[in-house]
């Protein structure tokens, strides 16, 4: 089984009422997505991206051809158990609150209740909806609904993550978080099929892409090979004197090449994240999502030897409450983010999370005492983690490795 997802001349024709062929939704599609690959399916509106995904998942039946996921059928529950799917729009039961929504989806996987609880809390933390977890999903904004959609797609720690327009409706922090998550999952050997027309997002994360138009693949290949300009070189330096610039210009001239010197601007994304971070630092209350770019621990944990499920079950035994794992994540997130500038900004975001939560405003004294205790606990756990566990160090390295490529433009 070389490929995670394969399609063999997959074709979908939408016919009209009298059975006459009307629209070719997808036409003779042959996709091969390898294991542990981030694959991007691009194309303008109506080019057949979503139709392809629906056929993969058995929500639509192909007119011709066949699709195979992990060597099986996309509608087989055994295969479904390894897939996480985020549909193009967030369709949820409006009357359930965020926690109940995740609980419902967790139950469909027949997860033991302990595991379910831990994962739900971790995911709520990760998508920043913990403070509004008791609110009906129907009252959520589009971006918040998107976040809960992402959480439900991750609840089974899927081997294949199928994301249909994952970043639409999300704020830049959420977008960044999804990109980080994709890289993180890919680092853990997962396969990701991404469907989008937001090219910047795709460019940042995808290994390979296919561009669809009119239901047919127009171009396919590795992003780097497709985009690399072999006739240009870009040099980025720190702050240097104008005489040094002149020197460089002279050297370039000697090579008979054109030279263009400019002072890079901050990316709007970076600026935005910094501004929101400042606001959060001042402790301004929000009824929306609280963005923090930490990733649920069960998604970042290495599955070496032991299955993740086992790990999750065994972990809370050491801690006293079920909330424990979400507390333990905090230090690890802080730890990893020290390395990179972008991460630094984001780690600032993680700190003021506590005061934003509604309870401290009401009972300040009580909250302070709890916070002290929490702080103490965090420190204890941090020490434990830094002392012996090679796994956590490994994890950090991995994470740092991903962000090197990612944040080079910052």
């Amino acid at each position: 089984m070389e490929y995670a997802v394969e399609t063999y001349s997959l074709t979908k024709i939408f016919s009209d009422l009298w059975g006459r062929d009307k629209v070719y939704g997808v036409d003779d599609l042959n996709l091969k997505i390898r294991h542990n690959e981030v694959f991007g399916l691009l194309g303008p509106n109506g080019s057949g991206k979503t139709t392809t995904l629906k056929m993969l998942l058995g929500l639509l039946y192909p007119t011709k051809g066949r699709s195979v996921i992990f060597g099986g059928d996309g509608s087989d529950p055994k295969i479904n158990a390894r897939i996480g799917f985020l549909p193009e729009e967030s369709y949820f039961y409006k009357y359930l609150n965020a926690r109940e929504t995740l609980d419902f989806y967790g139950r469909l996987f027949a997860m033991p209740s302990k595991v379910r609880e831990i994962r739900i809390e971790a995911l709520l933390d990760m998508v920043g909806l913990k403070a509004v977890a008791g609110r009906p999903v129907g009252t959520f904004s589009k971006g918040m609904a998107r976040r809960i959609g992402l959480a439900q797609a991750l609840i089974n720690d899927p081997d294949l993550l199928i994301l249909d327009e994952p970043t639409t409706g999300l704020d830049p922090i959420g977008t960044k978080q999804i990109k980080d998550l994709i890289l993180e999952m890919a680092g853990r050997g997962k396969t990701i099929l991404l469907c989008s027309h937001l090219l910047a997002d795709v460019e940042d994360v995808c290994d390979r892409i296919a561009i669809l138009y009119g239901g047919r693949v127009q171009a396919e290949g590795e992003v780097k090979k497709l985009l690399q300009q072999t006739n240009k070189t870009e040099i980025t330096t720190g702050s240097i004197s104008s005489s040094a610039v002149e020197k460089i210009k002279r050297i370039v001239k000697d090579e008979h090449a054109d030279c263009n010197v400019s002072f890079p601007m901050d990316k709007l994304e970076t600026f935005f994240i910094r501004t929101v971070a400042d606001a959060q630092k001042q402790g301004r209350p929000t009824s929306g999502a609280v963005s923090i770019t930490q990733i649920g621990e069960f998604l970042t944990a290495k599955s070496a030897g032991k299955s993740i499920l086992d790990k999750l079950v065994s972990e809370p035994v050491s801690g006293k409450t079920d909330q424990q794992p979400s507390v333990t994540e905090q230090p690890s997130a802080v730890e990893t983010s020290v390395n990179k500038t972008n991460e630094q900004l984001l780690s600032e975001l993680t700190k003021p999370v506590e005061p934003v939560q509604p309870t401290p405003v009401v009972k300040k004294e009580l909250a302070e005492s709890i916070e002290k205790k929490l702080e103490q606990k965090k420190r204890d756990i941090l020490e434990q983690l830094t002392d012996g566990s090679g796994a956590s160090q490994n994890k950090d390295k991995k994470k740092a490795g991903h962000h090197r490529g990612d944040s080079s433009d910052a």
Partner: protein, 459 residues
């Protein structure tokens, strides 16, 4: 199993939080106690109780039926329309599990509501006498005619085809047939039918001075010191001036006289004067029944009357006797309603497997009302279909007969006259309504749902 249960729980939450069920619950919670206080019936305590049970159960039954249709249709169609089903079906759940979960949720909700509301009705009926100054006589009457479950026996239908044929042949031989009858097959058939009607009527009509005899086998009262009840209604050919009919009733084991043996079981005689077209009950000690369960009832149209007395075809005469307690009977009636609700839930799921919400609701309501007036439908279609009997009996008839017949098993039909709903009848209803019809509907729904492209928008 996990996933079925998860879907069921979600369905219940949906029904409760989308306030679909809440409206029905509030309606019933307000109306039932109000009815308990305001119902008066015919002024007697028995009448009050009868009308309360009748209206209370009918209302509960109707509202729960409508609720079941609405919820079972809404839960699946809204999932498909609002596309939550995309995220559900891509999880490890098979389509049959989803449909089973939906059904389980609706049925569980029905069971819970049925328990609550039937408990309210039961409590009100049982405790009402304690709030009124009930006399001893009234209490006895209540215990005999309301707080009980009486088995009912109706006269066997007599096969009169042979008699009709013989009578026709005799008339033909003696040349007494009216002119034109033998002209064609159709006119001959028409005359025979008229003849059969006349003979059938003569079996339940008594001219002045004539008596009618009904024989019953298998009469099994709980004990011989209890009472039997002969329930009857008179009809007449000519209205008497005071609208009353004199009658002499003999009730007991007639064979004792027939064969000239000594009488060791009493035969009871009643001379009464009763209003026409009104139900009456004659109370007879149960020792009138022979040991082998035989009972004969005779009516003599005494010469004081100046009219032919006719006993209506369906409810002219029946023998009632105590066979079970009120509580047990009440429980079985509630089960009867539950079976009906299960059937409707399956119907709703079938409808929503291929129709959109408004159309599916309409579809279910049509079937629900057609089933509620099934005998009317059957009769009128049979009448209309006479002209095209072949076409009718092979197309419409089997379809209509597939419909359950809710009106034949109306809950108040059992509790108001304290008629026994036997376990065997209940089991038969369960088998035909749930075991066959509901299961078939659900399977058909599953078949359609399994082959359906979920993401395909049907306009």
């Amino acid at each position: 199993m996990h996933s079925i249960w998860a879907v069921a729980k979600n369905t219940i939450k949906q029904a409760l939080r989308m306030k679909v069920a809440v409206i029905f619950i509030v309606l019933l919670a307000v109306l039932l106690p109000f009815m308990g206080i305001s119902m008066t019936g015919d002024g007697t305590l028995k009448g009050k109780l009868q009308s309360f049970v009748s209206y209370g159960l009918s209302l509960t039954n109707l509202l729960l039926c409508l609720l079941t249709i609405v919820i079972s249709v809404y839960t699946l169609t809204s999932d498909i329309k609002q596309r939550q089903i995309y995220t559900v079906l891509t999880k490890p759940i098979r389509r049959f599990q989803l449909l089973l979960g939906k059904l389980l949720g609706v049925v569980l909700l029905d069971v819970a509501m049925l328990i609550v509301f039937s408990a309210v009705i039961y409590t009100i009926t049982v405790y009402t006498p304690k709030f009124f100054n009930t006399s001893e006589a009234e209490l006895t009457q209540l215990n005999n005619e309301f707080y009980t479950a009486r088995a009912s026996l109706v006269p066997n239908e007599i096969d009169i085809t042979k008699e009709t044929d013989e009578s026709y042949e005799r008339l033909e031989k003696t040349g007494q047939l009216p002119p034109g009858v033998t002209d064609s097959q159709a006119s001959r058939r028409g005359y025979k039918r008229a003849l059969a009607n006349r003979i059938e009527l003569s079996k339940r009509a008594a001219t002045v001075g004539q008596d009618l005899l009904w024989e019953f086998n298998n009469v099994k009262p709980l004990s011989s010191d209890q009472s039997l009840f002969i329930r009857f209604k008179y009809d007449v050919s000519v209205n008497p001036p005071d609208l009353q009919v004199f009658g002499r009733w003999n009730i007991g084991d007639y064979r004792q006289i027939k064969y000239g043996t000594q009488i060791d079981r009493p035969i009871y005689r009643f001379d009464r004067k009763d209003l026409i077209r009104t139900f009456y009950e004659i109370e007879v000690p149960a020792d009138a029944v022979a040991e082998d369960g035989y009972l004969a009832v005779s009516f003599l149209n005494v010469p004081l009357n100046n009219t032919v007395v006719i006993f209506p075809l369906k409810d002219g005469l029946e023998v009632l006797y105590k066979a079970d307690s009120y509580t047990a009977n009440f429980l079985r009636v509630v089960c009867l309603i539950l079976f009906r609700l299960i059937f409707l839930a399956c119907l709703g799921i079938l409808a929503s497997s291929f129709l959109s919400f408004p159309v599916a609701i309409l579809f279910c309501l049509v079937i629900f009302f057609a089933s509620s007036f099934s005998s009317f439908c059957l009769e009128s279609f049979a009448y209309l279909g006479e002209g095209a009997s072949g076409v009718y009996s092979y197309t419409m008839k089997p379809i209509i007969q597939l419909f359950p017949q809710f009106d034949k098993l109306n809950p108040s039909k059992f509790l108001v006259p304290a008629n026994l709903l036997s376990w065997s009848l209940l089991a038969r209803v369960a088998a035909s309504l749930v075991g066959i019809r509901a299961v078939l509907l659900w399977l058909l729904g599953l078949l359609i749902f399994s082959y359906r492209e979920i993401a395909r928008i049907i306009i």
